[in-house]
């Protein structure tokens, strides 16, 4: 008989690592499988690390985790082809002893997290692709098939942290295939420049960092949600939109990121930089209503594989870690009580999720994905342009009196959306947000 593990974790991203760490730390015999050459080699994120979620797993992470910059300033931009209207918030209070958010480079960060997982006692096996789940005659998951010779491995429970593009749970029928309208495709480039140039350009001292979230139309026919994150001596720049938008418009993702980089408001920020990587990744956008069953007989799902992403706040990696932690705690608890990882017993995982910010936040925004999908063109095209034109009219001094300018601005909104249209947009948004 093969050696049996207390738990097998599929995937070495934030969710899988959080689960594996939690279980190994609690004394379980854990095997973690990763298809990449090293943990992080298949993983893509902006990336922002939310301290709170990691602190609850590894309180002293700041001592040796590879962190780029702590974020002291957030800029939110609405773009049209030539301009942006923005809001920004910068505070000295973000220069705190235990900063709340950091930029990270995932390949580095995931390697560090994986080292902590191994130090906690888990066995981590890379270059191993899980090809399917092994079930007993009652349908209980009892292990995994892998592409190694003699690659069947058994465990009391399998934790699926296989990410948004997870085939294992899906081909086993545990969760449905993603839908083009419920998943975004984002592309990203890493741009390097000397540290002092970057710090001067973004008005930063020491390890301070800036986040720019930009949405709108970057060039005719190319609309999406973009970002610019400052790392120590590089900038992560990316943009994306729903997969269905790409297939329907015929726009290519690489022309979209090129247009974003060449937008007159973005281009100077990247000037002189050297691009060293181009990546692409799916982002689950279906929210609360798209969350599949996340537990069953002998299995649980954590992280992106379970659609745990708050697209309004662009939070995902924190939810990955929290779901990994809660699943790990549930399994460790059952193990120590000598109880089986049956569907009934794993209900505890779902109860813990429901009580956490993860399900509370996703439930709050349950109508947002549908709203965004239906109003995509208005939000990314019409409103950024109207606001941009209004701002330009307001700030340009050209001999026109202010009352006339005010009337022109109001008329432009009414003409574009009509008064009932404007009120309808506001109401729809308020209802979805509530």
């Amino acid at each position: 008989m093969k050696k049996k593990f207390d738990a097998i974790v599929v995937g070495a991203g934030p969710a899988g690592n959080a689960a594996a760490y939690t279980m190994a730390k609690s004394g379980l015999n854990v095997l973690q499988l990763e298809r990449g050459e090293y943990p992080g080699s298949k993983n893509v994120q902006g990336a922002i690390l939310y301290s709170d979620a990691l602190e609850k797993i590894i309180p002293d992470f700041r001592d040796d985790a590879p962190l780029e910059r702590h974020i002291i300033e957030q800029r939110m931009w609405m773009l049209d082809e030539t301009s942006f209207v923005g809001m920004q918030y910068r505070s000295e209070e973000f220069n705190e002893e235990r900063p709340n958010r950091y930029t990270i480079i995932r390949a580095e960060f995931d390697k560090w997290f994986s080292r902590r997982v191994r130090e906690a006692g888990a066995v981590v096996l890379c270059e191993t692709t899980v090809t399917g789940l092994i079930k007993d005659k009652h349908g209980k998951v009892i292990g995994v098939h892998t592409d190694r010779t003699d690659g069947d491995l058994l465990a009391d429970v399998v934790v699926l942290g296989e990410g948004v593009n997870g085939l294992v749970g899906q081909s086993a029928g545990l969760r449905p295939e993603l839908k083009p309208k419920e998943v975004a495709l984002a592309v990203k480039e890493m741009h390097f420049m000397p540290q002092d140039v970057l710090e001067n350009r973004f008005n930063l001292n020491g390890d301070e960092g800036v986040v720019i979230e930009a949405m709108g139309t970057v060039s005719p026919g190319l609309s999406g949600m973009g970002f610019i994150y400052t790392n120590k001596e590089s900038i992560s720049v990316g943009i994306g939109t729903l997969v269905s938008d790409f297939t329907e418009s015929g726009a290519t993702p690489y022309s979209m990121i090129e247009a974003f980089k060449n937008h007159p408001s973005i281009k100077p920020l990247l000037a002189g930089s050297e691009a060293k990587e181009y990546s692409a990744h799916l982002i689950p956008e279906g929210g609360y209503k798209a969350i599949p069953e996340v537990y069953g007989d002998g299995w649980v799902i954590v992280g992106d594989a379970g659609q745990f992403v708050n697209s309004v706040h662009r939070e995902g990696s924190n939810m990955a870690m929290t779901t990994g932690l809660l699943a790990g705690e549930t399994i460790a608890h059952l193990h120590h009580k000598r109880q089986k990882c049956s569907k009934a017993n794993l209900t505890m995982y779902k109860m813990a999720l429901d009580q956490s910010y993860v399900m509370k936040d996703l439930k709050k925004y349950k109508d947002i994905p549908n709203y965004l999908h239906q109003n995509n063109k208005t939000l990314l095209g019409v409103y950024p342009r109207l606001l941009g034109q209004a701002a330009q009219n307001w700030f340009r001094v050209d001999g026109t009196d202010k009352q006339t300018k005010e009337n022109e601005i109001l008329a432009s909104f009414r003409k574009s959306r009509s008064l009932p249209g404007l009120i309808g947009d506001a109401l729809k948004f308020a209802r979805a947000w509530r």
């Binding site: 298809r35 990449g36 050459e37 992080g40 080699s41 298949k42 993983n43 893509v44 994120q45 990336a47 480079i105 995932r106 390949a107 580095e108 995931d110 890379c126 270059e127 191993t128 692709t129 892998t146 592409d147 190694r148 948004v164 593009n165 085939l167 295939e177 993603l178 839908k179 083009p180 998943v183 495709l185 592309v187 480039e189 890493m190 060039s219 005719p220 026919g221 190319l222 590089s234 997969v243 790409f246 297939t247 418009s249 015929g250 726009a251 290519t252 993702p253 690489y254 022309s255 090129e258 247009a259 060449n262 691009a275 060293k276 990587e277 181009y278 990546s279 692409a280 990744h281 799916l282």
Partner: protein, 108 residues
């Protein structure tokens, strides 16, 4: 306009973008002779399959002179977009590369 033109016509943009230049910065461990994605034989591509010639972020899909969509997986970023797009039409077979092969992100 036939459907091929309708899909492959780019939105107006003055930028010429060469995706190969972008892929050139990446690191890959190519599993020669073991493509992890294959396009099923077809007479005429479905709308979904045809859309991959523009939607794939690595530009892996192209239309050959016989009017068939073909794939070269070497630059694949393993995002899974093509699998999602063709899930309903079942035009392609999508598997992970063997352990250790495929794209290896240096930064991610």
């Amino acid at each position: 306009m036939n459907p091929v033109e309708a899909i492959t016509t780019q939105p107006e943009s003055s930028l010429v973008v060469n995706v190969e230049d972008k892929l050139y910065t990446n690191r890959y461990q190519v599993d020669a002779g073991h493509p992890h994605i294959t396009v099923k034989p077809h007479d005429k591509p479905s709308k979904a399959l045809l859309s991959l010639t523009t939607t794939c972020p690595a530009g892996c899909y192209s239309l050959n002179d016989k009017g068939h969509v073909e794939i070269a997986v070497d630059g694949c970023l393993e995002c899974g977009t093509c699998r999602v797009v063709c899930a309903a039409t079942k035009d392609i077979e999508w598997n992970y590369p063997r352990g250790g092969f495929g794209v290896l992100f240096k930064f991610g």
